[in-house]
Amino acid sequence: MDSAAELFVIDDQDAGIFRVNRRAFTDAECLERERRHVFDRCWIYAGHESEVPHAGDFQSRNVAGRPMILARGDDRIVRVLLNTCTHRGSLVCRQKSGNAKSFQCPYHAWTYNSRGQLIGVPGEDSYSPAFKREEFALAQPAQVDNYRGFIFVCFDPSADTLYDYLAGAKEYLDLVADQSELGMRVVAGVQAYSARANWKLLVENSYDGYHGLPTHQRYFGFLSDIGVEMRGNNLGAPRHQQTVDLGNGHAVLEYQSAWGRPIAHWVPSFGEHRKAHFEELRRRFDERFGAERSRRICETSRNLGVFPNLVINDIMAITIRTFFPLAPDYMEVNAWALAPMDESAEDSALRLDNFLTFLGPGGFATPDDVEMLESCQRGFANREVAWSDISRGMKRERPSVTDELQMRAFWRRWNQLMTEPQAARARKAA
């Protein structure tokens, strides 16, 4: 595979050719290599600090294929604990979420406190003097860090800090985090779904401006039916638009959109009675950030991809979406809504309403995206057609949001990680 790995991506910048070998979407060995070269080495989103607001709160979930517990200890510190008893392996937390002073393994009743320390071992006197409780705390990923409420884990102790890893993506996470002075919160309710498709197809799709009109015509039809002004203001011809390679495989589309934004961008479908309120919200952003940054926060939409598997789309609402492959042709997806901590109940209800028009497995758009990804995956069975083309806008000086620069940023980083020999990696770490 090492020699073949070189052939996954053809990147000829002079000629303007960029191709991805479709085996990257179908090959089981490729997925195995991704687990080691990508998911075990990159910073992976694990959750948001608002999901465990109080001491003792926990959420158990799968992150990068591992069962983990996002837990706020009695010392109020948020930790990520690997959900496996250090004795013989059982999950120590089998609830989805809750509040607990301790986690007791159901198998032999080893008990850990909310910080993950082992505090109870039945019949401890049967162990030899070499047995030391403090060596049996619940394990934690090599690195855990938090950027403005977004908690990431990394299994590579030699990896760059989260701050450096996020590179240019920080600016766009800031544009989301700055939407409240009190902080943002994940709204109750997870959209837990899946797609019978390779996970990288969802990466591409989540910030693909080219597919907007053909794939989502039904959504634009809905907007038009409810009276949203579409002319000169849609994904086909967005104003104030840019596509940016943010470094380290991250990329973003930023554009002015037709839809209303519950943060402070009113459209008539929100109702006349809300207009003055939205203008007041906007005025406060102008005061806090000045006209230009305020306009960016309130009026522009952003589709942000944080390498490898985190998407934050701040569009007609904000969704956090993360996904992980279980097989080359199957991924699990989890999506949440993010909202300002201090948003009124009425504004929050409007936000969720706006979210559901487009987003999620029952929305007017996401099911069609899933359909397209699954359709590509089925098409890949034609192995004779070996390559996908991702060269759109490659020779353009300033690629537009309907070009594919963002995907090339992802694939270049992916290819770099996948083809870097393990030995070189170990030398670098040493």
Partner: protein
């Protein structure tokens, strides 16, 4: 509403079976006629089946405008996830008339809905909570909540039809 005025289980069953038939046959315009003007259709998230759509992220929370738009989209050609239409088959069971709240008749029923497409079968399991009202020409749906027992939409990936 007195107990005597409540519809019988058989009347409700006939109504729900008729609805299921219309949905399975993709006669969605006729299905809309079973709804009141202000009807709502909701599917709560799998982790908050008792949630309130005003403060919880649902899978579907359609008001009257969105239900009608959903039907229009599904009958048009651009709802790709349902073009071509999937086959569905609904099993409705354990129908109970729970009582009344003012004019609203509270009904619950279990469902198993099978969706067939591309030669795979996805099963949606759960129960409906209905609020029905009696109109001049029979029962009408004022609120229709499909509560999934599935712990996640896996491997379904979506609810692209009317569940």
């Amino acid at each position: 509403m007195s107990a005597a005025e409540l519809p019988t289980r058989q009347e409700v069953e006939d109504f729900l079976y008729r609805e299921a038939g219309l949905l399975d046959e993709w006669r969605l315009e006729e299905w809309l006629e079973l709804l009141t003007e202000d009807a709502v259709y909701q599917v709560p998230p799998t982790d908050s089946p008792e949630g309130d759509a005003r403060n919880t992220l649902f899978i579907i929370a359609d008001d009257a405008v969105r239900i009608r738009s959903r039907v229009k989209q599904l009958l048009g050609k651009f709802a790709w996830a349902e073009n071509p239409h999937s086959r569905t088959r609904r099993m409705i069971a354990n129908v109970r008339v729970l009582g009344a709240d003012g004019e609203e008749i509270l009904v619950t029923a279990n469902f198993a809905v099978y969706r067939m497409r591309y030669e795979s079968v996805d099963t949606y399991i759960g129960h409906y909570n209905y609020k029905l009202v009696r109109g001049s020409d029979g029962l009408r749906i004022k609120e229709r909540r499909a509560i999934l027992d599935n712990e996640a939409l896996r491997p379904h990936g979506k609810i692209s039809f009317i569940l």
